[in-house]
Amino acid sequence: MKESEELNRVISLVLKVSSGLSMFLMAVGLVLFLSKPEQMSSRTGEVPFREVLAGALQLEPLEMMTLGIIILISTPFLRVAGAFFSFLFIERDKVFGFVALGVLAVLVFGLFIPGLTH
């Protein structure tokens, strides 16, 4: 298998697994939510990740949906990270490895921007 095909295969697999998991969590969470409408509330990004994970494991609809959103947002991060590792270790292309690292650094930087009140 050519190196570039290997790169494509790795990135495609990363995308498939993470987006599939995210959609599954969101869909199941939504169905559970619709079957328990009394739980209506509008939680947003202020809930700590540990609580979201714990709630999702207990099949709490809101937490499952939130986890689905978090995984979906992180999918592009994984996409870039996958490209970084593939460039560096499969294709041995340092220049583009650093480009991917740069993009990843920008994405991570965004996570540290203090809460903006829109």
């Binding site: 495609s12 995308l15 869909a27 509008s42 949906m65 979906l72 592009p76 480009v99 920008v106």
Partner: protein, 273 residues
């Protein structure tokens, strides 16, 4: 009930977005703000999540088939992600009125672009997601990312435009393909199909840069976001299936009128807010 309506909104946005060659944002944001009276910042946050969903599903197919120029995409992402963060920060400091008016301008530009050109939009339909080959059975332009059959031109200018596309994405919750595809195609000499596939690969990464900021700022409520995101995801895939049976030209003319009307509504809402 609201949840089911939001699901329907997402579905419709996904189907029509795929048929017209647009991301869902152009339809999701006006509907959420005008019909559901949602704050525009929340609508933008929700739209960005929907953009990631559609981009990811399309990218799975295009990356596997080698249609994405990952190297070019990664380089331009340096511009789009920085732009997206800047856009999300700007959005925090500008009023809803400004966002409504900017979005209206973008809708007007979009209607104009749809009126002028058929070709890129048709390409975008193919890139909107789904397992089928590109519309018309077009074969991948690139067999592998390391054997490009073209030479990329004007890279610094392309990067600058990518930054602008990123700012618009972070500020207004759109994918930015409207800018990136013509820039890659006409300015950088990238074949259209590759430009479309690469843009779609990039859109998700760009949207993630600003979506995380909107999420952490509390603008992404799961109850409202999930139905829209799921709807857009399913709708975009359905739109591809309908593609062959539909007269896209007629639909486009219809949506040019819809966009003009929606732009007017958003201007009125912007002035009134």
């Amino acid at each position: 009930m609201t949840t089911l309506l939001l699901l329907a909104v997402g579905l419709a946005a996904g189907v029509f977005g795929a048929l017209l060659g647009l991301g869902g944002g152009f339809l999701v944001i006006p509907v959420l703000t005008i019909l559901f009276h949602m704050p525009i910042h929340s609508a933008i946050g929700i739209s960005l999540i929907a953009v990631i969903a559609t981009s990811t599903s399309a990218a799975v197919v295009y990356v596997r088939e080698g249609r994405v120029d990952i190297r070019l995409g990664m380089l331009l992402e340096l511009g789009t992600t920085v732009g997206a963060i800047v856009g999300a920060i700007i959005a925090a400091f500008v009023s809803s009125r400004v966002l409504y008016l900017l979005f209206s301008l973008l809708l007007l530009y979009n209607a104009y672009a749809m009126y002028r050109k058929d070709e890129p939009a048709r390409g975008q339909i193919a890139a909107a997601g789904g397992p089928e080959p590109a519309a018309g059975g077009v074969k991948p332009v690139l067999k592998g990312v390391d054997t490009p059959e073209y030479e990329v031109k004007n890279l610094p200018l392309g990067l600058a435009f990518s930054g602008i596309a990123g700012i618009l994405s972070g500020l207004l919750g759109i994918g930015g393909g409207l800018i990136k595809i013509p820039v890659m195609y006409t300015l950088m000499g990238v074949p259209l199909k590759t430009a479309v596939a690469t843009s779609n690969f990039m859109i998700g990464v760009t949207a993630a840069a600003s979506a995380s900021i909107y999420y952490l700022s509390g603008n992404v409520s799961p109850v409202e976001t999930v139905p829209v995101a799921l709807g857009v995801f399913v709708g975009a895939n359905m739109g591809l299936r309908f593609n062959k049976a539909f007269s896209v030209r007629t639909l486009k003319r219809l949506f040019i009128i819809v966009f003009l009307y929606v732009a007017l509504q958003m201007i009125i809402k912007g002035i009134g807010s």
